[in-house]
Point group: C2
Chain length 118, copies 2
Amino acid sequence: MAGKPLIESDRVEGTSVYDPKGNNIGSIKRLMIEKISGKVAYAVMAFDTFLGMGGDEYTIPWNKLDYDTSLGGYRTDITEEQLRGSPSFYRDRDYDWTDRNRERELHDYWRTPYYWGV
Amino acid sequence: MAGKPLIESDRVEGTSVYDPKGNNIGSIKRLMIEKISGKVAYAVMAFDTFLGMGGDEYTIPWNKLDYDTSLGGYRTDITEEQLRGSPSFYRDRDYDWTDRNRERELHDYWRTPYYWGV
């Protein structure tokens, strides 16, 4: 994947995610795409092997993930503690993402720029 | 899907595409995403049932597709003739998308704005 500016969505799905120490902490299940702009807003991750969090899905701002060619997966600086304390609304699979204030809350929690701009 | 501002990548994959008359002309296989910006650049479509084009895959600028809630799929104004005459380089599955001039050619052909801005 190195050097290629574009990546296939079905290649991102299933890709492993690693913590800062290089431990595999789960994988990407899918991406959440803003329909109108065509921008990837979030990655839904499953932390399959994370301590005590088996099966849970977490929606992470896309820009929290960096592709690491040496790992063959995405690297993130998020920690288990951060995940446990993160806003829980977006873990609801039926959440409809129509409340921008909640998305602000999510981005503010992760200290990352809003994908829709300022 | 109506009203939801975000859509799951694995829900887009497999969604049917319809021509202006409402005929099902194929389906979306995957999305091509610009890694750095996180923007969806293209949709790769398979025109399974298109006349004489079974199995071929075509990469279409994402903004050529509009979701139509009444159809439960994407509507496009592209025609078979346009597809037959479109630049062929991007039908190569190993194409690496590193040549922006070719992407310009593709967007110019489809008369659609560049996804990377002017």
